[in-house]
């Protein structure tokens, strides 16, 4: 249903698991997939007397996430307790940050139908994850696994700058890409290393104040976010239009039904009684550490895309595809440099390489193990200098996937080398010229249409091994055109 004159206002809260080896506050492994409660210790079990000690690498990654999103990193930030009862929250409070987070005021630029739009980031703060509650494994019980309890997270809160589901999707994709480039997290919604809560409200276009918002949880994919926003906004507008009121409440996305519904009423209220965490002195960062983190940031997606377009003369689409992940961009760039032919490298990577990856269910890292960029570059270079035709190159590519050996060796072995040797080619050209005097005469008189057929005849004479471009050149030169 379209609601002309009504606007969607969305803010997104994204929780991202930091890629550390150990948990935020203890030396337990943060790895996924261990047996229930295998990765626990007095600290993350909240045994009486246990105390938290903060993971330095988690801080580093949080700083990187903040810098990659252009936030101001605060040299002094404070941890706080967020108090509530839930069985997968062993201490009865979550160690988080409240009024003095590690970073504030960043931005992400998204593409909305070809125009750039800035979405502000209000804040980024560090906190610990809770454990997992499994409700249907043992009848009558909820089973608690605390392996995830204490894994370090950052929460990234956007300004309510998003105005449509598509913008929300674009924001999430861009944020994910930035965080992947920065090496901060695996950012996988399927694996739970990236979670999204969406805050949505509606207002008439032109209103400046914000109306009551609702929060949607349990979103399990970017497309779910887009769908859920649309549905929930629709409900808001319909309600306002019929003079109803929107209550501030939590909503849940139901993946099975594809609907958004109210969460059952909470037991007790949301009074988190935040206070500064007395077990942790303030986090004081030295300026130098922040500068080092900034220097160690890789080139981020937007900058890399712009540089590819500029330095390699790539079109927007290709630049986009090739910078989808840092690994792919690295692969392409290595192939481009080694082969000296960025255009062909782009074609190959966006075409045959990505197709192969998809077909074989690989990722770029395992593809690169199979066929490093330098070997691919070899094939491209041979095409560039005319040693092989493009169809031969494809054959060589397929062969190289199966076994070792560089491109020239493969080509030679398979008899795919094009003859580019001038003397041999001239001989073939001369023969054809002599054998087809009528066509030769017409070509010499200026009828360029004969170039193709005559080239074809030379190719036939060479058994397909002649370099057609060179043949073409020689014929043209012979014709004096």
């Amino acid at each position: 249903m379209s609601h002309a004159d009504w606007e969607m206002v969305v803010g997104l809260e994204v929780h991202v698991q930091l890629k550390t080896r150990t948990k935020a506050f203890c030396g337990c492994s943060a790895a996924f997939g261990a047996a229930p409660n295998a990765n626990t210790c007095p600290v993350c079990l909240a045994l009486p007397g246990a105390l938290p000690v903060l993971n330095a690498h988690a801080v580093e990654l949080a700083i990187r996430a903040a810098l990659a999103t252009e936030c101001t990193v605060h040299e002094r930030s404070v941890f706080a307790r967020k108090n509530y009862f839930y069985p997968d929250l062993p201490k009865g409070y979550q160690i988080s940050q409240f009024d003095q987070p590690i970073a504030t005021q960043g931005r992400i630029v998204i593409d909305v139908d070809g125009t750039d739009k800035v979405v502000g980031i209000t804040r980024i703060h560090m906190e610990e994850d809770a454990g997992k509650s499994v409700h249907d494994r043992f009848a009558g019980f909820t089973a608690i696994d605390l392996n995830r309890s204490g894994v370090p997270l950052v929460e990234i809160v956007s300004e309510p700058d998003i105005r449509s589901p598509a913008e929300a999707g674009a924001y999430l994709r861009k944020l994910r890409s930035i965080l992947l480039y920065a090496g901060v997290s695996d950012c996988s919604m399927e694996e739970g290393s990236l979670r999204v809560d969406a805050n949505v409200s509606a207002r008439r276009t032109g209103e400046t104040a914000l109306r009551t918002r609702t929060e949607i949880k349990n979103l399990n994919s970017f497309s779910a976010v887009e769908k859920a926003l649309h549905l929930e906004w629709d409900r808001h507008v319909t309600t306002w239009k019929t003079n109803g009121t929107i209550e501030q409440q939590t909503m849940l996305w139901d993946q099975n039904r594809g609907t958004v519904r109210r969460a059952r009423s909470k037991e007790g209220s949301h009074d988190y009684r935040y206070f500064p965490e007395p077990d942790l002195p303030p986090l004081v960062l030295d300026r130098r550490a922040i500068d080092e983190a900034r220097a160690s940031l890789p080139e981020l997606p937007d900058a890399r895309r712009a540089r590819f377009a500029r330095d390699y003369g790539l079109g927007a689409y290709d630049a986009d595809v090739l910078t989808a992940t840092r690994e792919l961009a690295d692969y392409f760039e290595a192939a481009a440099r080694d082969s000296g032919d960025a255009k062909h490298a782009a074609n190959w990577v966006t075409g045959v390489v990505l197709a192969t990856i998809k077909e074989r269910g690989l990722d770029i890292a395992s593809f690169a193990a199979l066929l490093p960029a330098s070997r691919l570059a070899g094939v491209i270079a041979m095409m560039k200098d005319g040693s092989v035709s493009s169809s031969a190159a494809k054959t060589i590519f397929a062969l190289m996937l199966e076994g070792p050996g560089d491109a020239p060796a493969q080509a030679a072995r398979e008899g795919l080398l094009q003859v580019g040797d001038d003397a041999q080619l001239r001989q073939w050209v001369d023969e054809v010229w002599a054998e087809h005097p009528a066509e030769a005469a017409r070509l010499a008189a200026g009828d360029r249409k004969l170039l193709g057929p005559l080239t074809g005849l030379v190719m036939k004479k060479s058994g397909g091994s002649a370099d057609p471009r060179k043949v073409n050149q020689l014929l043209a030169a012979r014709a004096g055109t």
């Binding site: 229930p36 019980f141 909820t142 089973a143």
Partner: protein
């Protein structure tokens, strides 16, 4: 600011304390008695004192991202009231869609 019976009931719920009604009335009196003694603080001029103290505080020491948790001398199962297949068990939540508050 005196607390009422409802206030105490509300706080007890926040703290999951399960107070019986007869306890409630006694507690209202006790808490108000104690809180009465706190009023004196309102008259004290103190702005900025805590912040000044905080800024002077040294920052925390961090730990390296290396595995090495404090080991447990006894199995979790031996310490916990109810476990099964390595999980801690609690009565099933009313609906698993009563999502956690974070």
């Amino acid at each position: 600011m005196p607390v009422s019976r409802d206030d105490v009931r509300h706080i007890a719920a926040l703290a999951r304390l399960g107070l019986a009604d007869d306890r409630l009335d006694a507690l209202v009196g006790e808490l108000n008695g104690i809180l009465g003694h706190m009023e004196v603080l309102q008259k004290v001029e103190s702005a900025g004192a805590a912040q000044a103290a905080e800024s002077a505080r040294a920052g925390m020491t961090l730990r390296p991202d290396v595995e090495g948790a404090v080991p447990l001398a006894r199995a979790r199962e031996d310490v916990a009231p109810k476990t099964r297949e390595g999980f801690f068990l609690v009565p099933r939540l009313a609906t698993h869609d009563d999502s956690a508050e974070a």
